[in-house]
């Protein structure tokens, strides 16, 4: 992501976070109000600063790129500037958004199911199903077998460690 875009979206996020808290602090009075009020002001003002900074940077980048790309010998310099404007990690590693979406959906579904189905059954299902989607499909043994080989012992170890040895309560649900 370009730095100008980063700054712009960071600014928007800061404003939204500040506003989410800001709409609630009308209910507060006296000393309870002062501390959050200062913080919300800092966050929103910072957000506005980054939105403006992002927009200005974006305008300058476009202007600079246009002026440099107008002459062919300057194209290389223009590419260098573009590279400098991007975050290094993006260049090094590409991101699989589909995989992130899959794990996010299953992780959220797991939270919903914890209280209704029970921690251990839900977690077993989560590991197996997620692995079917995210596991390495190039290996010979089937995904289901590999996921079960890992998931069943793992869940049993977690159960022994947390429930039997450390007596940590887990959401029970209708199953286990």
């Amino acid at each position: 992501m370009r730095k100008s875009k980063q700054d712009f979206w960071a600014g928007i996020s800061f404003i939204l976070i500040g506003a989410a808290f800001g709409v609630q602090y009308d209910e507060l009075t006296g000393v309870s109000r002062i501390f959050p009020e200062i913080l919300i002001s800092i966050i929103i003002l910072g957000g506005i600063y980054f939105v403006i900074k992002g927009l200005v940077q974006n305008y300058l980048e476009k202007k600079l790129t246009q002026s440099l790309s107008s002459s062919p010998q300057e194209t290389k310099k223009s590419d260098e500037i573009k590279e400098n404007c991007c975050v290094a990690e993006d260049a090094v590693e590409s991101i699989s958004w589909s995989r992130i979406l899959i794990i996010s959906i299953f992780a959220v579904l797991l939270v919903f199911s914890l209280e209704y189905i029970g921690f251990f059954v839900s977690s077993l299902a989560f590991v197996v199903i997620s692995y079917l989607f995210l596991g390495d499909k190039s290996l010979q043994r089937s995904l289901l077998v590999r996921s079960l080989i890992f998931a069943v012992p793992f869940i049993i170890i977690v159960w022994i460690l947390f429930v039997k040895l450390l007596h940590v309560p887990t959401p029970a649900g209708i199953l286990f």
Binding site: S96, F119, L134
Partner: protein
């Protein structure tokens, strides 16, 4: 004192006590390494078991669990970027990059040796300077603690030199998040977003698990890599790290351990604050601060020596005054009292054998941690040979059970998910999750101590400025805070000028 030392040493080598030390250490390391399970929880779980033992054996075991759990937190911080205990937050800053650079075994050994070193220094202070240091700790009131927390918060300036604006706002968001729930000063309810469960506030641990652990799951799954990092365990790693630490990091280890001990003595300020402050100081005093955050040994050493030195510090006011310096010390205090032992200066005379056996056991536990931790490191490093998908899915399950275990509340699991998304997507737009974590940890203390200052000002008619700046300790902390903020700015400006000069020369 001298008459108690020899019986104390003899007590340690009783087979039962020796076994309890090793068992406590192993148990503590496992509890510490599991995200969500804290040292407090580990020690509290074992208190009822001590009732069946004699007080000396019980205390020895609780002390060993405490030491093991604080060290154990570093293992998960290094291997899966999940601080096992809040004390290990700063260990992730360099431990995780070391792991990603294929130096997981080096990082694990650094944390092991530094933890043992910090623990020994902390215990040394406990043994020889307990009374004097306890009196010093009593001088920390609301204003001093307020400035200390702000000093801890100033780490943001050091952590994010190139991104200070976003770092400061991320820290402010962290503090704002910490205001959710009951106001510590007035008791009024704030920012619950209509959810009753949020009245209890946002727990630090689920928040840390989300910011550092769940966000890493998203990062790892999205990276398409097959393994977290190449795990190349080299046989000479332990010796190399030992040599490196005791030749190039002597001063850093000593400084971090002393700071850890002092912070540990202060009620409410625990390993998380100590490790953050020492990380900050290590970076500030280093000739090449740029290498911090990219996987440098010094970063791990500073954080880990400090959080284990906190143990000795936290036990000082507990044993001498009956005021616990940390939550774990409070649990141990409870165990002491349940055994009919009254803490206070008299403990060193009336129950001298018990007190000195406990202190000497802390020395031995720190030494035993080296072989026990070394063996466990071998197993832990092998975790990296597992496929990335397996590890990522396991982290989700462990994060959820760990978060749920804090208060048996499903809201804590939601906090993990929400902060996980904030950590991942916030990181994509340059937000500083480390700074946010600092805000969440230090926020309640800052507000509470600010409230105390306001109350003091109202009571004495000094005015808030007078209260905040009164006393030598406050003045020293204000000076240190100013230095902490100005130094990175100065470094940034000089670096900018240097780069500009270089650019001009090349042109």
């Amino acid at each position: 004192m001298n008459e108690f030392i020899l019986p104390a040493i003899l007590n340690l080598f009783e087979p039962m006590n020796f076994f309890l030390m090793i068992a406590g250490l192993v148990g503590g390391i496992i509890v510490g390494a599991l995200p969500g399970l804290t040292a407090t929880m580990g020690v509290a779980l074992m208190v009822p078991i001590t009732f069946a033992m004699n007080p000396i054996s019980g205390l020895i075991m609780l002390g060993a669990i405490y030491v093991g759990a604080i060290y154990g937190g570093a293992n998960s911080a290094i291997l899966i970027c999940t601080p096992g205990t809040p004390s290990s937050v700063a260990t992730t800053f360099d431990g995780w990059p070391m792991c990603q650079n294929g130096k997981a075994d080096d990082a694990l050994h650094v944390s092991l040796i530094s933890s043992a070193f910090g623990g020994i220094i902390g215990t040394f202070f406990l043994l020889f300077f307990a009374a004097a240091l306890a009196r010093f700790a009593l001088r920390f009131g609301g204003p001093e603690n307020f400035w200390l927390c702000l000093f801890g918060l100033s780490t943001i300036a050091v952590m994010s030199v190139d991104n200070m604006g976003k770092g400061i706002i991320s820290g402010a968001i962290g503090i704002l998040v910490a205001t959710i729930g009951l106001d510590p000063n007035t008791g009024s309810i704030r920012f619950t977003f209509g959810t009753y469960s949020l009245i209890q506030g946002i727990s630090v641990i689920p928040c840390m698990i989300g910011l550092f652990s769940f966000s890493q799951v998203l990062y790892l799954i999205g990276s398409k890599r097959e393994y977290i990092a190449k795990c190349s365990t080299s046989s000479g790693s332990f010796m190399y790290v030992t040599k490196y630490l005791f030749t190039k990091c002597k001063v850093l280890l000593m400084r971090s351990s002393i700071i850890g001990t002092i912070v540990g003595m202060l009620p409410g300020a625990g390993g998380e604050i100590a490790s953050i402050i020492t990380y900050n100081e290590a970076k500030r005093w280093d000739k090449n601060p740029e290498r911090y955050g990219k996987g440098c040994i010094e970063g791990v050493a500073a954080s880990e020596s400090a959080n284990n030195a906190v143990i000795g510090g936290a036990l000082i006011p507990m044993l001498t005054l009956g005021i616990p310096g940390s939550a774990v010390a409070a649990v141990i205090l409870g165990a002491l009292m349940a055994h009919g032992i009254q803490p206070g200066f008299k403990i060193f005379t009336a129950s001298g054998e018990l007190a000195y056996t406990f202190i000497m056991s802390q020395f031995l536990v720190c030494l035993l941690m080296l072989p026990v931790g070394y063996i466990l490191c071998k197993f832990m490093a092998r975790l990296l040979n597992l496929q990335l998908t397996y590890i990522a899915l396991s982290i989700v399950v462990l994060s959820y059970i760990g978060a749920y275990a804090i208060a048996n509340s499903i809201i804590d699991v939601w906090i993990v998910v929400i902060f996980g998304f904030v950590g991942y997507f916030g990181g994509r737009i340059g937000m500083d999750t480390g700074a946010m974590a600092l805000g969440v940890i230090l926020g309640p203390m800052i507000e509470e101590n600010l409230g105390k200052c306001v109350d003091l000002a109202n009571a004495h008619n000094y005015g808030i400025y007078g209260v905040m700046t009164e006393g030598v300790i406050s003045k020293i902390l204000i000076f240190a805070l100013m230095l902490s903020i100005v130094t990175p700015l100065y470094v940034g400006i000089t670096r900018g000028r240097r780069n500009a000069k270089k650019g001009a020369r090349h042109a």
